[in-house]
Symmetry: C2
Subunit: 442 residues, 2 copies
């Protein structure tokens, strides 16, 4: 269900009967935190503990977490707990003093990037990272114009909310922002997703220019997670990236969703498209629960901004953040989690694909690694989005104690994003319960 | 020394001879982190460990920390380390699920606020908090105009940087921003600081209106920390707050610097002025090294924004953040740290005041609790700011292993901000070494 604020899978009062404890907590939230907070699900869930791919409610019931991408290497990964506990007890100072953790981390992170990306800057959240990237892009290009996909989400600072159309119509887009259709492989008119997508970006560039606005940047999430999860065909980003560069703007890869091995074929989502960004932003899974984020970029793009504007983020790049992030990167690499995302992701995708023959509401199964999108339609030929059915499935799975959510402009794509440590057994559980829910919902 | 980016106490290459290890780390920072990062001091310091009011370099030398206000209850406070370690190992999920820590914290935090402040929203950084506060203020008032003091610092998102004049001339102020002179008790022309300050705000309001810009908000830091530390006379904020409200705008108290007991007379800096803000923002010391921040506010101010715009901050209000913040609030209250800030702050202020009779460069000693400002002048009668002497003192103290910094438009005010656990013995050390440095620098 999409609420008045455009949020998919939001709790809406009165949509379902609630137990007394849940109702009381919701009342407390309203009283203490006020009206801006939203919960997931028709019957919100209360968690008290997490471990690996599992979350537990106060009664000890286990929920299979196939959604939370902050805890990407598993809830409460012991190496991250150890790193944070140790460094919290040792030193928490910031980048105005010398400290080697930030340098060791930047060095190791940059080693995962393509040639040409030479600097790394620490922020605290993905929103911060995108906000900083915009400031850098506008300084470097001298332009203001921003191009995003039409259901994109990039963050919640005022600057970034102004180019995050998925926040809904009550959060206006900036006058310098243009949206383009997502690279929709399921509904492509010509079959050439890349050409269609590039044409959209070119049209947006012309429209900006027609209004006297110089394009500064094109930004997209490497897996188009809010637009509906579009992963292929690989390479479809090339034309769009070329177009923005020809217009004097830069390409920012928002890897908050698709980074750190999520897509299974590489460390970064943009890599599957064979493009090298000017700036790369990252966040959520970087510290597996500890707040840390950042921007990597080409030195020539950062040069003028750095010289003129300086940048200090009190919490960004503190010693604990760097140690937490190092523990995560180390775990991804030493535990073979990119490979697991690829292998288990393929296994899970095959399992869901097999359900399509049984359940006609499954219009398309797509995604890369452990980020899958399942398009729910009421008519396979017309490809008619079915948001109501999608809501029933998401809430049905919640009742079966499996956590997923939904996305897309029409709110009809299941968003399945398990931790990178997901196992085949856990994939089996997910597929089995999804099968049950689909049978019940039909 | 003020650099090209307007930063006080920034490291400038070539200003002093560096040892090989320091030079190598600085070269690594430039290579890996790029040009936007700045260090403190002519000879930057490398820390590896912190405990209480002390920081230690790799050789084991102890530095008395009279500057870092993130670690406000002391470096590596065991209760905070314990809370973060425990919760990191238990659960780190966000506010889209029910969790009681955020509610317990909001309840306890709101109990420290004056009547009328009824909601609390979690963010991750003080910049986030001010960015959110602007969005709320503009939504509530329908205005855009922002009034700040002329050397204010409120944060580093694009929106907030546009009203943070202390970032220097290379970061332009927004067309909707007006600056007013700080409430300078040392150079007041009439002796009525409050009336002068209110007149400045009224003039800014008229100028905004003359340009067709409706005032949305007046924001100030409760101790004017970047402007030069202005604490009194108590009550001087009243006229300014009245003026912005008459113009249809709101008053935002930025308590990132002055909050959580820092000023010694109350939990919040605004309280000494007998005013009740519409929104209160807070950050740095809230988690004593763990990234957590927030906005408290009047329910009627938050109502429309919350209903229309929703707000989700992935890391803001995660379970660990709430537990860290709870441990800090608990320590401030159970260890009597507000009282200690008042008592030890007065003792330290008296000690520095006593140095004024020996050292004519001390023009004024001011501040509240454990946030002191010492104005350095070359001529006491003319009150001529002496930035060069200020730099020598700050760096001289660093060589004596005492950490402070400097601030103010003319970069001539020593900024002394020890942790709230500071003892009389530590105050004695600071005064004794400051005396030595002042003798040497004169």
């Amino acid at each position: 269900m999409v609420t008045d604020t455009g949020m998919v899978n939001a709790f809406v009062e009165g949509a379902a009967e609630l137990d007394a404890a849940t109702a009381a907590m919701i009342a407390d939230r309203k009283k203490l935190l006020g009206p801006a907070y939203r919960l997931f699900y028709q019957r919100p869930v209360h968690f008290v503990r997490g471990e690996g791919a599992w979350l537990y409610d106060p009664e000890g019931n286990a929920y299979l977490d196939a959604y939370n991408n902050v805890t990407s290497i598993g809830h409460c990964h012991p190496k991250v707990v150890e790193a944070v506990s140790r460094q919290m007890a040792t030193l928490t100072t910031n980048t105005r003093y010398l400290h080697d953790s930030v340098l060791r981390y930047a060095d190791r992170l940059l080693a995962t990037m393509p040639e040409g990306i030479g600097h790394f800057m620490f922020t605290c959240t993905g929103s911060d990272a995108n906000d900083l990237a915009v400031r850098i892009a506008q300084s470097y290009t001298g332009g203001q114009g921003i191009i995003v996909t039409e259901t994109a989400y990039h963050g919640i600072t005022q600057t970034v909310a102004a180019f995050s159309p998925s926040l809904g119509e009550n959060v206006p887009l900036g006058a310098h922002v243009r949206t383009v259709p997502a690279p929709d492989s399921y509904r492509s008119a010509t079959g050439d997703v890349g050409a269609e997508f590039a044409a959209g970006v070119q049209a947006a560039i012309r429209d900006l220019q027609r209004h006297g606005i110089k394009p500064a940047l094109f930004i997209c999430d490497g897996i188009f997670s809010s637009d509906g999860v579009f992963d292929g065909p690989a390479g479809f980003l090339k034309g769009a990236v070329e177009a923005i560069r020809v217009a004097g703007g830069i390409y920012i890869a928002d890897e908050v969703q698709s980074g750190f091995g999520r897509t299974g074929d590489a460390m970064w989502g943009f890599q599957r498209h064979g493009v090298v960004p000017d700036l790369v932003t990252m966040g959520k899974p970087m510290g597996n629960g500890y707040p840390v984020a950042g921007v990597a970029g080409r030195p020539e793009v950062l040069a003028e901004f750095g010289r003129k504007a300086r940048y200090f983020n009190t919490f960004g790049g503190n010693a604990v953040a760097a140690e937490a992030a190092m523990a995560v990167l180390e775990a991804i690499q030493s535990e073979g989690l990119v490979e697991n995302a690829r292998e288990t992701g393929r296994y899970l995708k095959d399992g869901i694909q097999a359900l399509a023959s049984l359940h006609p509401c499954i219009g398309d199964v797509r995604g890369a690694g452990l980020f899958l999108g399942v398009e729910i339609v009421s008519d396979r030929v017309a490809k008619t989005p079915d948001a109501a059915m999608t809501t029933r499935i998401v809430n049905g799975l919640r009742d079966e104690r499996v956590l997923i959510s939904a996305c897309a402009k029409a709110a009809n794509v299941l968003k399945i994003r398990p931790p990178l440590i997901f196992t085949r057994d856990q994939a089996d559980i997910l597929v089995e319960r999804l099968d049950r829910v689909l049978s019940r919902c039909a």
